[in-house]
């Protein structure tokens, strides 16, 4: 069924373009731009599983990305594991952590859940900053010759780029698959009316804990890849509250609850931010502009870009999920 869905082919085409663009002409600087776009899409898509599908606002989503980065970097750089294996294990480990955590805090609803996620973010950050094996607040560094295993630094950067693009495509396919599944229906029921969902026989606690855990997996894998590429990790960049909040902004911008919207919002927001940051005239005001944009979206277009598109071209609702 998913194989016949047009969005699947949009996703694959998107990923293919992302691979082709920098390869064509060996454009390293474009690649560096696009990897950030891909990371934004990964974060926004997986956050969408919680906020868009289940209606639970997770302010601390970045904790998965950061923990994944730490585990991945620790295994790959300090223990000499294969990068892909280290990233996968980081994903599994963080998902399990999220599952256990979720069973505890998903008893909370609404704003209380949102606050608990902030608390977890700060607590985890503080723990890592005191954790000796992970280098406390100085963090971990990849030794320069670690890249030799992947054929030297130049080559290693390309390899991580392709892996990140793969994770991005998987994130979007996962969003699509969940949306079309019975499990996804259960999540929507929770979002619309959790009390009614319980009456209908949805085991909401388990559903919520599972989706919380699933939404942790790919960000953790991406974190492992990205921090390996960056060559270092420390608590302040791994668990950046601002980035967590920006994930929500991306989602709102694109349109929460939709596969394409999350990706679109992630990509556009990242492009906008990096344009504003490096533009000599506007760089002082990048936060003002991004904030103003978010305000306009929240006040006047709560459905985001996709919501606006649905209204403008009603037929698009059938094609775009």
């Amino acid at each position: 069924m998913i194989l016949r869905h047009p969005v699947l082919y949009i996703i694959l085409a998107f990923a293919a373009i992302m691979v082709w663009l920098p390869l064509h002409g060996n454009n390293v600087s474009l690649r560096e731009d696009l990897i950030l776009v891909a990371i934004a899409v990964i974060l926004a898509s997986n956050l969408n599983l919680m906020i868009g599908y289940t209606g639970y606002v997770n302010f601390g989503h970045i904790v998965f990305y950061g923990l994944g980065g730490y585990i991945g970097l620790y295994l790959a750089a300090e223990k000499g594991w294969n990068l892909v294996l280290a990233a996968l294990l980081a994903g599994v480990g963080v998902s399990l952590f999220a599952l256990v955590l979720g069973l505890g805090i998903l008893r909370l609803r609404g704003a209380y859940f949102a606050l608990a996620t902030i608390g977890i973010l700060v607590a985890v950050q503080s723990f890592v900053a005191n954790f000796d094996p992970w280098g406390r607040s100085t963090g971990l560094y990849v030794s320069f010759d670690a890249y030799e295993k992947l054929g030297g630094a130049r080559h290693a950067l390309w390899v991580t780029y392709f892996l990140v693009i793969a994770v991005m495509a998987l994130s979007m396919i996962l969003s699509l698959g969940i949306k079309m599944s019975k499990f996804g229906l259960g999540l929507f029921a929770i979002r619309e009316d959790e009390g009614a969902a319980v009456v209908l026989g949805v085991n909401t606690t388990v559903y919520k804990a599972i989706i919380y855990s699933v939404s942790a997996f790919l960000p953790a894998v991406a974190g492992a890849l990205m921090f390996y590429k960056n060559g270092m990790i420390d608590p302040s960049i791994a668990f950046e509250f601002m980035l967590s909040l920006e994930g929500i902004v991306m989602l709102m911008l694109g349109g929460k609850g939709t596969v394409i919207g999350a990706a679109l919002g992630g990509g556009l927001y990242e492009k906008l931010r990096s344009y504003l940051l490096t533009s000599p005239k506007l760089s002082n005001f990048h936060l003002v502009i991004a904030g103003g944009l978010l305000l306009v979206v929240v006040l006047f277009a709560p459905g985001g870009l996709i919501g606006w598109l649905y209204k403008a071209v009603p037929r698009s609702r059938k094609v775009l999920e």
């Binding site: 606002v57 805090i105 609404g110 209380y112 608990a116 902004v249 003002v288 305000l295």
Partner: protein
């Protein structure tokens, strides 16, 4: 004097300032069910407000609180009108995001003006020395000011017609409208007071420590902890919880490295949330 005793007094003094900061968040949350994410940015504006005023009028810094409170009220009305008024009847996510958007804008403008470099308010009151320990005059003055402002708010809420209207709107907005209370006006007022409290707590902090435009963020985090410990919509409870949090910090620090404090505080925060979603001192049922 023993170390732990001194450390707890230090904790108590700074705790009163945490409490004052949290009161603003708590009031807004309780009255209008809005989690005000401009809180941290407003605290930072309070710091810079003090810096600017003190640079222009180098009098006793604590006297400058009065214009800061007044400016905070105006700022609060403005922020209310920009970010909250239009989304007050929408799901909570809307106001969460709209206040966050305004937070980004304030931080952005602040960064453009003051950069993110540290600033200082160079005003020092003489301290008191007991044995080897000295308690600075600024800490004592800031804590006293925090308590006085908190008491004034308490009197306002419980003794004046306007204050009672705020409580009535917090309790039951529709019924308050039926009594002839303009809930829009009351919400705007409550928001303005909340912002003014945040700004004044920032002004107090600025007399104690150096600060940047980003410094508000950590006090916003502390405010969340304090608010949740106190239970929502309990401004005075927030002061008490703030002082308790300070005391706890003071009691714990002699035994462990200071860097563990956030883990303990926020771990406690999550546990309390899960076990007592309405706060330790919260109302039983609404």
């Amino acid at each position: 004097m023993s170390g732990i005793f001194a450390s707890m007094i230090d904790g108590l003094l700074i705790g009163a300032v945490y409490g004052l900061a949290a009161m603003g968040l708590s009031l807004i949350w309780g009255v209008m069910d809005v989690i005000n994410l401009t809180h941290g940015a407003t605290i930072a504006l309070g710091m810079f407000g003090m810096y600017i005023l003190f640079s222009a009028f180098p009098v006793n810094a604590y006297l400058l609180l009065i214009p800061i409170i007044a400016a905070g009220l105006l700022l609060g009305l403005l922020i209310y009108w920009i970010s909250v008024h239009w989304v007050i009847d929408r799901p909570q996510l809307a106001s969460l995001l709209s206040t966050f958007a305004v937070n980004m804008m304030i931080i952005g403008i602040g960064t453009a003006i003051w950069s993110t470099s540290p600033y200082n308010v160079n005003f020092t009151l003489p301290g008191i020395t007991v044995g080897a320990y000295t308690f600075t005059g600024n800490h004592m003055a800031a804590a006293s000011a925090a308590v006085i402002i908190a008491l004034a708010l308490e009197l306002f809420l419980y003794r004046t017609r306007m204050g009672k209207a705020i409580r009535a709107v917090a309790d039951n907005r529709e019924a308050a409208e039926l009594m002839g209370v303009s809930s829009t006006m009351v919400l705007a007022l409550a928001f303005a007071i909340g912002i003014s409290l945040a700004a004044s707590s920032g002004a107090l902090v600025s007399t104690l420590f150096p600060f940047t435009i980003l410094s508000g963020a950590s006090y916003q985090m502390k405010s969340f902890v304090v608010t949740v410990l106190a239970g929502l919509g309990r401004p005075f409870g927030a002061l008490v919880a703030g002082v308790l949090l300070g005391l706890l910090e003071g009691a714990v620090t002699p035994f462990i490295a200071v860097s563990w404090i956030p883990l303990i505080e926020f771990g406690l925060f999550v546990v309390v949330l899960v076990l007592f979603p309405r706060g330790i001192f919260g109302r039983a049922t609404a």
